[in-house]
Symmetry: C2
Subunit: 187 residues, 2 copies
């Protein structure tokens, strides 16, 4: 039996890719094993089980999202930064629906959970956007939750096919960015 040369990172990466292809609900250990060229039980040498796999995919997704948003924002401020961040976030969710879905409904176990750290990074990227607006210190957390709810809500609703086809979805998103920008500038 030739070694497959797997390690946890490779298994998680393959799992994330597979989740994007077939949906997180249809990501089975058997399918993932086949994808990486190994029998099912061998996966357990690298991840502790489906739960662990899911958490690692979620952490990967949050880190990637943070990277995408963070680098999209580079060099912009105010409205441009807001637009860049929101568009980057939505693009990420639509390109990687499976791995992003892995982040839903998973609570971090503790303060040193890699998922929690990744979530903080993503939050930090959005915090940077807020620095371009005159938001009172006491309102920063509220504004952050607003942006997170908006982006998360819109992206997941669209990803789940929750919008009817009556109106162009991209247009709605741009409208939503302008709405948030106006609101933040009027503080």
């Amino acid at each position: 039996m030739p070694r497959a040369g797997l390690d946890p990172a490779a298994v998680v990466a393959a799992g994330a890719a597979l989740a994007d292809e077939v949906g997180i609900a249809r990501l089975t250990m058997g399918l993932l094993a086949e994808r990486v060229g190994v029998r099912t039980p061998s996966l357990y040498k690298h991840v502790a089980g489906q739960n662990d796999l899911n958490r690692r995919i979620a952490a990967l997704a949050l880190n990637e999202a943070a990277d995408a948003v963070g680098s999209a924002v580079q060099g912009y401020a105010g409205r441009d930064a807001l637009g860049a961040a929101a568009r980057a976030f939505r693009a990420f969710v639509l390109e990687h629906p499976g791995r992003y879905a892995a982040t839903i409904g998973v609570e971090p176990t503790g303060p040193d959970d890699p998922m929690a750290a990744a979530g903080q990074r993503l939050l930090g990227a959005f915090t940077a956007v807020l620095r371009g607006y005159e938001v009172a210190e006491s309102d920063v957390n509220h504004a952050l939750r607003l942006l997170r709810s908006l982006c998360h809500g819109f992206a997941t609703l669209q990803s789940a096919g929750g919008f009817q086809w009556s109106t162009d979805v991209d247009e709605s998103f741009e409208w939503l960015i302008r709405f948030a920008d106006r609101g933040l500038r009027a503080m």
Copy 2:
């Protein structure tokens, strides 16, 4: 064997209640059967399978949410209506996390799908809120998607424990309602 006197509605109602208790992911046919006092295969006389059950729970949840939002809005207009609708929606999701979670990621099969009709009812309740604002005809769909994204995003993030405990969540939600109100009035 005495008859249990079940029908599809009773099975779906019990399933929704159970989903709220244990979470949609842990809602198994065996658990539901035990809850309604029947063996597992008997459930299949009333629902076609887990998929069908999930869709029916989702339709029930959307109808109940539409009822809650619709009646909360009664007699209010403008900002009061918006606040009442948003609070009613969030309260519903937090009180019934399981059945609301059943609506996520389920696409309506066709135009006569009960779920689609229920979704339309919920949308209609929010449309009524918008009548208290001077929103241009061409912007109604965008504004609707904004409200839906906001409420859905906030409620699901909170329900999943997605917010840190640093700032009061109720306060954030009230802040968010004021933000949306200001934005809609400024059109």
